[in-house]
Symmetry: C2
Subunit: 327 residues, 2 copies
């Protein structure tokens, strides 16, 4: 059913119906008629037709690399919270870390005339940047700092620094690290830097044997720990890029009689639920994921409303949570 048919049924004009759903410049009499007919017919105006006319969609495109990850889903929830409180709808794409899909999604968003885009960051190519520049709508990147774009990010380097410093203050002399690829600016590069800086600043020399690369999984963390502890000399404190990796590393230690924190301290970033439950419970840095999502959404809304050209970068601080793995 369309507005004309519905208007006939309600016994009013098209305009009256349109006004009912918009301004409300309407007599009580007609209003009532419309409401009655609404109950009878279940008519709902077509958002598409309205969009053609008004050019407003109240749509925001959101790109998530991996919805099932704890951090991503928290950010997404934050975004959703503020966006739909403001009457915006979410067009959600889970790219599964496929950068080709990210580009496609951007095209999709353009066709759907989204009012803005929020992008959870992982690895950015030049193609990304080019396509992003081409979009004429406001953009917010979450989780990574990037020249020329609005960003909401975490203090990854600071958190890695603080955690490493903490271990050193607790007596660690031979710090080690299980990190991730530096292609990932936030979880990779920044956290490596924070770790390395803390080691240098403490006047310790960093033993290359005490560093391993890992994927973002427990199993990979487990295997990295295995490699790490296979050398004759062993670290007495390990910083892991993520809680998940640390959980795998703790598992390896437990299975191989390496005592945490006595033989080796351990800490990581993320404050996932896992870390609290792990044994020993994991010292970690809490990153405000949900808040990041909320802030990103608010930043986007601001940009949409004010057509801002000036970029903003918001960095959220972290909280260190000391638990048994460094006690």
């Amino acid at each position: 059913m369309n507005i004309s048919e519905f208007a006939v049924i309600a016994g009013v004009s098209k305009s009256a119906v349109s006004r009912y759903f918009n301004n409300g410049y309407l007599s009580a009499d007609k209003k009532e008629k419309i409401e009655e007919a609404l109950k009878k017919t279940g008519y709902a105006p077509s958002a598409a037709a309205r969009t053609v006319k008004t050019r407003v969609t109240k749509l925001v495109g959101v790109i998530i690399p991996k919805l099932s990850s704890e951090s991503c889903s928290k950010v997404a929830e934050g975004i959703s919270d503020v966006l739909d409180a403001q009457g915006y709808k979410l067009l959600l794409v889970n790219t599964a870390n496929d950068s080709h899909k990210e580009i496609e999604s951007l095209e999709l968003f353009r066709q759907n005339r989204v009012d803005g885009v929020i992008l959870l960051a992982t690895v950015f190519s030049d193609l990304h940047k080019a396509v992003m520049k081409k979009m004429r709508v406001p953009f917010v990147i979450v989780g990574q700092e990037m020249k020329g774009f609005n960003c909401v990010c975490h203090n990854d380097e600071g958190a890695a620094f603080a955690l490493t410093k903490l271990m050193i203050e607790k007596g660690v002399k031979k710090p080690g690290i299980i990190g991730v690829t530096r292609d990932d600016a936030a979880a990779g590069a920044a956290r490596w830097n924070g770790f390395l800086n803390a080691v240098a600043k403490a006047g310790l020399t960093f033993n290359e044997d005490f560093s391993e690369m890992s994927e973002f999984t427990m199993d990979s963390g487990y295997r990295a720990a295995k490699r790490l502890f296979s050398h004759r000399e062993r670290p007495d404190g390990v910083f892991c890029a993520t809680d998940t990796i640390a959980a795998g590393a703790e598992l390896y230690c437990r299975e191989n009689g390496i005592s945490i924190p006595d033989d080796v301290m351990m800490c990581a970033i993320g404050d996932s639920k896992m870390g609290r439950v792990a044994y020993p419970s994991l010292t970690t840095a809490h990153l405000h994921y949900k808040t990041a999502g909320k802030e990103a959404a608010e930043m986007l809304l601001h940009a949409i409303k004010n057509g801002d050209e000036i970029q903003r970068i918001l960095q959220l601080d972290f909280d260190i949570i000391e638990r048994d793995s460094t006690s």
Copy 2:
């Protein structure tokens, strides 16, 4: 820019442009012209205008109660995987367990002429059912069985039964339970029933003191465990409705010198990451969340394509994962 302006720039007719984006009933010459102009202008056709004309949206509405929960986000990921492989877009609403918001979302979906709706289930009111019936598009409910609707659900009762049976076979004589509200048909009622049936079938009598109610959080699980173990007599095996609850309960036990599995065995449903890391590692039932999401999406697509009137209920089985908490 619209199709007419773009057509002028490309030096072809509107129709040619339209054909380019649809059939492709087009000479190579014009095709080339259009592609060139596309690069120059970055024109993208308006999905809304197309929808007004064709009445197809390729949109699916998805309602999630709590995006940041591990199980929900896995289901969502599964849904997303198959839906956007088929060119469908996701209109995502996180209702935060607010049933009022669920109803609103349905209205939103109707205005946006979604081709179908997937609803992650928690607690259903009559209002829900009424509104759902009113929608003229296919519907799939995930996580709960419900007469009159397509469903993809888990064998909650079977999993609870199997887990409880397992503990009893391992020597548990005084089984206890930390459950959730029966208003939740799946995580509540079904799992209670599975537990109770297993106890009865084993010829054991169930001591009312050995049952506690919990929310879906670790803290609540912790407190429930505290109450559970405050009686003079204690259970020697506890089934928890969810891994999260069990994690809280394990924490309580560890802090209070109650040894798992020696003093009390423990198990739960969900196979969350936490359970693997927990100490002792948690015996659990793996529910195929991501698969459920995929199946739901496929069921929906099927219904959309075939306009099926006949309801289907798909029940996914579980896998028992034995770990140290019942070893």
